[in-house]
Amino acid sequence: MTYIPYLSTIVTFAFAVAVFNRYRQRGGVHLLLWAIGLIFYGLGTLTESILSLTPSIFLLRIWYLTGAMLTAAWLGMGTVHLLVRKGNTAQILTWILAAVSVLALILVFLVPTTSASYDITRPASEQYREIFISSGFLSYLLAPTIILNLYGTITLVGGAIYSAFLFWRKRILVNRMFGNILIAAGALSPAMGGTFLRAGLTDMLYLSEFVGAVLMFIGFMMATSTQSEPLPAT
């Protein structure tokens, strides 16, 4: 089932283009940040795809930086811009995230590697610990990785759930309510991928990334569609 990362890459880049086009038409920093997050998502699945064909430490570093570290945080940052309108909190957080991202880039490319060779039959997330030297730099890398994922998951998923709840409670904009539910479910899907991997379900990891991208794309399209007719009561 190694073709799944290819599908994920196609879906994610198509999603990024859709979000960026909307940004060009309507503006909104949140859309630009979501597009950046989706490009990171796509780069993560793209490098994952290439790494299943040819071993490359450089691509492994790119995969770790984009797929494991930055995707969730930048997507979540977009949601923060959408929800936090008062003051310049969102702008300050964006600058902090940009600085942390640059630091992450430096750290990822400074991590020394072992002599272990990359096995193209196994997923990157299963073997990067064997290739990056586990003491020293990697220990500095793990904490920011987890913090970035915590921040991204809470803001992206929490923001979508909160939005869906508000639309539900006020009984308005049903398309936006369902769209946010799908976005929340889609964002949680890859977050649970690591658990599948630890259970030895490698295919499920790939599938969770694909399902996540598809659900979020559908959710976004639903949420941004213009609903002309209210849902009939039954």
């Binding site: 793990l142 994922n149 915590l150 809470i154 508000l166 409670r169 009984r171 539910i181 009561a233």
Partner: protein, 64 residues
């Protein structure tokens, strides 16, 4: 607070018409399913956050 927030979301998407015109009446099935879905999502989010927090503290093996 919530009303202002919802209004800003509506404006964000440049929706024509007022909030009132976009109201919907949920079906019996939707009335029951949506709260359950939201609770499941919140619980899943909590589980992911707890696992990540434990991984940060070194109690749980890293998942990222």
């Amino acid at each position: 607070m919530n009303t202002r927030y919802t209004d800003s979301l509506i404006m964000e998407y440049n929706m024509p018409g007022s909030r009132q015109s976009k109201r919907f009446s949920p079906s019996v099935l939707t009335e029951k399913i949506i709260p359950v879905l939201l609770v499941i999502l919140v619980l899943t989010l909590l589980a992911v956050v707890i696992i990540l927090a434990l991984a940060l503290l070194g109690i749980f093996p890293s998942v990222v």
